[in-house]
Symmetry: C2
Subunit: 195 residues, 2 copies
C-alpha cells in the first residue's frame, strides 16, 4: 500500500516501481472523478459514473472505498483475491482513508506513506500542476496537513525530495519485506525445522 | 546484527556490505581463537589471549560475549556507545549466542540471520575451507542445525545461495530500515505535527 497527500508524487513513483518490479501487480482503482489530460481509462483508473460506483459499493465489490475531494475512489476486492490465490504481490496506490480502512481490516501488507520535503514544496507542486484552481489547491493542502499528522500508523515514511532516491527507497522496502522472517519460513527446506 | 551458522558466508557478505555503505561502521570482535591464514589482527578480529579476554569480561568491557566451538568471542561496549553518541550505525558480525544476548537485552537494532540453501550445501562449504578437520566440521554442522531451528527470533532471514543476491538483499534491508516510521519521525519538519 502506497499512500500520500495529493502532490507528493505518488503516481509517478508507483509507475517507476511497477517498471522496476515486473512481478508486482498493479491494482487499478475505480473512481468517479473526471479524467485529467493524459490519463487513460483502464490504465490510470477505471473511470466510472457515480451510479455505477454506488452499485459496486452495494454489491460489496470494494475492499476499501472513500470519498476524497468530492469524488469516490475504490479498490476492487477481486484483484486482491486473485493475487492472493496466485501468491502474487499487488501494489495499491491508495488514498489515506483507503489505507486506514485496509490497515484496520487487518489486511497483511506493507504500508508506505510518501511525504513532501515540507509544506511549502507541496504547495508549489500542487500549484504547478495547472489542473486545479486556487481553492481546490487550498483544500488539498489542508487535507494534506491532516493526513501527514496521522501518518504514524504507516510502517514506513518516505520523503520524496529527490525523485530517484524516493523510488530507490521504496524499491528497497519492497525487496526487504520479502525477507521478513514470517514471510520466509514457508519458503525454507523442511530440514531446517523452522516451520 | 548479522548472524549465521559457520560456513553460511557471513564474513564475505559483511565485507561487501561495508564496502557498499561507507557510513556504516564495523564492530571488530575480540576473540581467543587462533588466527587463520589470511586473517589480520585488528582487521578481521582483535586476537587476544584467554587471560586478556577473561579480564575484559570482568571489567564489563563486552556488551555480549560467548564461547563458540571452544573459543571466546565478544563485542566491545565502547564501540556501540561511541557510535550511538554520534548517531552512527554499526554492523555487528556476530555469532548466534551473541545475537540472542543482544536481542534479549532490548538493544534497538535489526537482526538478520543468513542461511545456507540447505544442509548439504553447508556441509560442502565447510569441507571446502580445508582449515578444519572432520570432527570440527561435524561439530559445526550440528551446531548450525540447532541455530537454524532457533532463527525465528531474528527479524529477517536471508538465504545465501547466489552471493550477489544475498548482498543485495541485506543492502536493501539496511536501507529500508532507515525509513521505518519510528526512525523517521525525528528527522521530519516540526510543521508536519508528527512528533
Amino acid at each position: 500500500m502506497i499512500s500520500a497527500p495529493s502532490g507528493a508524487g505518488k503516481t509517478s513513483i508507483c509507475r517507476e516501481i511497477l517498471a522496476l518490479l515486473p512481478g508486482l501487480r498493479q491494482s487499478i482503482s475505480y473512481t468517479t472523478r473526471a479524467m485529467r489530460p493524459g490519463e487513460r481509462d483502464g490504465v490510470d483508473y477505471h473511470f466510472v459514473a457515480l451510479d455505477v460506483f454506488q452499485r459496486m459499493i452495494g454489491d460489496g465489490a470494494f475492499v476499501e472505498w472513500a470519498q476524497v475531494h468530492g469524488n469516490y475512489y475504490g479498490t476492487a476486492r477481486a484483484i486482491l483475491e486473485e493475487a492472493s490465490a496466485e501468491g502474487a504481490d499487488v501494489l495499491l496506490d491508495i488514498d489515506f482513508q483507503g489505507a486506514e480502512q485496509l490497515r484496520r481490516s487487518g489486511l497483511s501488507g506493507v504500508f508506505i506513506f510518501i511525504l513532501p520535503p515540507d509544506m511549502e514544496e507541496l504547495r508549489k507542486r500542487l500549484a504547478s500542476r495547472n489542473t486545479d484552481d486556487e481553492d481546490v489547491i487550498a483544500r488539498r493542502l489542508a487535507n494534506a496537513a491532516g493526513e501527514i499528522a496521522e501518518a504514524v500508523n504507516f510502517d514506513y515514511l518516505v520523503v520524496n525530495d529527490v525523485f530517484e532516491q524516493a523510488v530507490e527507497m521504496i524499491w528497497a522496502i519492497l525487496i526487504a519485506e520479502t525477507a521478513r522472517t514470517d514471510r520466509m519460513i514457508d519458503t525454507l527446506p523442511e530440514e531446517f525445522g523452522l516451520k
